[in-house]
Symmetry: C2
Amino acid sequence: MCHTLDVKLPVDHLDHLVRGSWTPAGAPDADLPAHASRWLSAKTGLTPTSTPAAPDSALAVGESALPATARAALAAIVGAAHVLVDGPDRLGRAGGLSYLDLMRHRGAGELAVPDAVVVPADPEQVRRVVEACAEHGVGLVPFGGGTSVVGGVQALRGDKVAVIVLDLVRLDRLVSIDPISRLAVFQAGVVAPDAERLLAAHGFTLGHFPQSFERATIGGFAATRSSGQASAGYGRFEDMVEGVRVATPRGEWRLGVSPASAAGPDLRQLVVGSEGAFGVITEVTVRVRPVPVVDRYEGFVLDGWAAGADAVRALAQSGTLGTVTRLSDPAETEVGFALKGGWKMAAVRRYLRARGIAEPCLLIIGWEGRTSADLAARRKATLRVLHGTRMVSLGTAAGQAWRHGRFAGPRQRDALMDAGVCVETLETATYWSKLNRLRTEVRDALAAALTAPGRTPVVACHISHSYETGASLYFTVLVPRDLGDPMGQWEAAKKSACEAITADSLGTISHHHATGVDHKPYLPREIGTVGVDVLAAVKRELDPDGVLNPGKLI
Amino acid sequence: MCHTLDVKLPVDHLDHLVRGSWTPAGAPDADLPAHASRWLSAKTGLTPTSTPAAPDSALAVGESALPATARAALAAIVGAAHVLVDGPDRLGRAGGLSYLDLMRHRGAGELAVPDAVVVPADPEQVRRVVEACAEHGVGLVPFGGGTSVVGGVQALRGDKVAVIVLDLVRLDRLVSIDPISRLAVFQAGVVAPDAERLLAAHGFTLGHFPQSFERATIGGFAATRSSGQASAGYGRFEDMVEGVRVATPRGEWRLGVSPASAAGPDLRQLVVGSEGAFGVITEVTVRVRPVPVVDRYEGFVLDGWAAGADAVRALAQSGTLGTVTRLSDPAETEVGFALKGGWKMAAVRRYLRARGIAEPCLLIIGWEGRTSADLAARRKATLRVLHGTRMVSLGTAAGQAWRHGRFAGPRQRDALMDAGVCVETLETATYWSKLNRLRTEVRDALAAALTAPGRTPVVACHISHSYETGASLYFTVLVPRDLGDPMGQWEAAKKSACEAITADSLGTISHHHATGVDHKPYLPREIGTVGVDVLAAVKRELDPDGVLNPGKLI
């Protein structure tokens, strides 16, 4: 029933791994457009400066602390050519893509550079590397696309003699596919676009499209409990995971024999979100779906946040969400129009005001399906639920514009950072009855922390993931960088936001970015000290020497 | 946003707790109808005998081993009137409702009788009882409806000085309801019909209807990862759980601040299915839905198991499952017609054969919804997917007949047991590509183990829970009881079935009955020794003295 494949893709991902920016040098959208720069100056007080990422050569990289015996043991497993100790190789896997990580590559703060990069060929080599690290007391940071924005791949040494990055780039195979059961087994290092290409050859899609899509990996999605932009249609990544293969210091661990089970707790859900702290995920069995053949993305403008959130809730609770459903608050709606350009804002506002829209909130709905009739019926059901909501359709042009730019965020951020902007995002989620309060409190906390003489922050927010009982909130912050203390500027704002989220159990500390280093201090408020102790007990059982991803999660 | 309630229901559940049968004495359906008896004799070789449950007074109950100090400590918490040590009270909570447990109440095998029954008033008393048990080294078995069919509530003493049953019957409140977020907080001891009544007053339903519905509790559903007959429409219970409050020897543990989170692993899914081994669930926050106002249940007959399973798979993979979707194999279809009576089987067969149905497989589909138009559209979509499948509609009469008898199984079983039948069920699940093989292997294993001179077993099977990637299989066995070794007869059959399920990771050892005592030996095959060690590590962390539900799960 199950075709076993052995598809090998060219290893071209290593090229990307010059940190400090997502955008390759000379990329067409590497610069901030003039209209965006003008809008930012007027809005935030920004004086655009040129602060591009420094070349790697400008960064100091210390000697590798990896003991010779450990290095020899690792070389014996993966081959000497796959134990990289040169500065650029190590710098290329030093940290992820948070604002703070990127700033560290720009010379601010201290960069945690791994002592080596080890590149195993397959799950079996991963298992042996994990065992060797445990034996030699060497920390090990699993590394997929390296897109963590919460410090999840920082090469922290902890109390170990050295720390290596385990780059899973060579675990790039679609291992097998079962079209009857709609299951695919991927090695952990397969990047999302390759996963989609490999599945498309069989008529399937995974349907997982986070903003990190272009670089992130299947293993990373599982390790971080990722959620993609089409979660309303395809589910969160945890909903797609049917099985996992994990390399732990205790040996290999396989889970997943059926779609559902009552044979004790669901341990798959203990592995999903474990961020490399319990083991290295080497294979993931995912549920796949037929490739959609028709789609329609449409933009609407609703009047005000509260009415917009009510509309999205009505869709979520009536089962009529689109495959993609996203609501921007007035601030984000303005940022979107301003940064994209091509819109005459005054004219747009006049047009909307004439139609009763005082506080424009952009709502993007995308439907994807197998037949036009099905799509039309779903769209009709959506509009029936929204009947009575004051709104203006922007048609498919606005929908397609969002779709076209859906993965452009990281490149846009690079351009903003080059121009001297402190730009970062954070996300949370809560139940519907607390959603408006959560948005207000986090927005106000961020604004208060970032406002300073000559610096007025823009704090924008959207709902991108909705459930019957609640929704996520995703915040984007733009403010002129504090050149005197760029790290402290954001650290203080982030702390304020996290306090607002976790005080009074208002929301989760992360809806889809994971815990990493940044959210770790807030985990006890969310899962209790009992919960943290349970995670620590699992960690002790699986990783008694504490070599797995030191300093993350717990 | 959230109405806080404090609804107190009359405590009438204690009346039921005379074990040995589900059916109260003198209930109208307590006897096996003559036509069923005739059919069984012809089919299985049964010579009907009268073997009713013995009165409790016939069973020996030893002295309570509960030390006086422990008893005093417990009485200080719940009041002396709520520490029950009389024989009948203890017998009433001795074991669950598996065939073996029921046979023990009929004098076969040894009955594990608790040393006391403790009946706390609220979550705080539960917490204190748990702490007292840990302090005094007394085992504690959480007890809701007592409907476990896998030995989950057997009062095993393990290595403890004594064991008590913690009866949660007084934790019967709907604590709060949040209609905006569609959340309800229930105390653990609320029985399902009361939960539905309490929710209905607010226009909501939980939609969880397992066969144990009439007695089972909200806490039990969570502790066992229950799945109800309407899982296609409402999800499994684990999908409904948004939060839990758990009393552990380490103190109280609360989880659940948002519908979804990436703040580490989902620990709610570690509590759901933990079967009282990690703590006592005292409150559950569940997602609720508006009460359906229209419904239609319809019966169809399909031709043969393989075609039927393909049809259900097509429905599951196209998103067109009914709220309830159940497919019986030819054997179960025959059992259904034979036991229910009122059908002239020869005429039915002729009618079906004339329409090309050689091997009748009953398919029940039930749609529940908010509007007739919605229901009609969903029914149309279902029939569109089934277009091309050879089938005959039996109309709504057959659907309503199933619906009417949906909770009658336990009473029917009592009547069969009284007539000398060995009658039991077991269930599993797997991915679609392995489903037919799993059905064949388990069926053959059961048939081989139960066939003996003068005894021909009926092994019937159905799919009652379907997913995109696979489905459950539920087996029912009917065979004349081996009067010489009634326990060994079923134990051998169950062992054969479990071996068939777990050999080669063919399926899960339980889809919705949980692990308990019966499935514990097979857990390592499913989650690995690493998985079992992880569960043990969590147990050690939360319950270092091992007082919680000794001998269950791990």
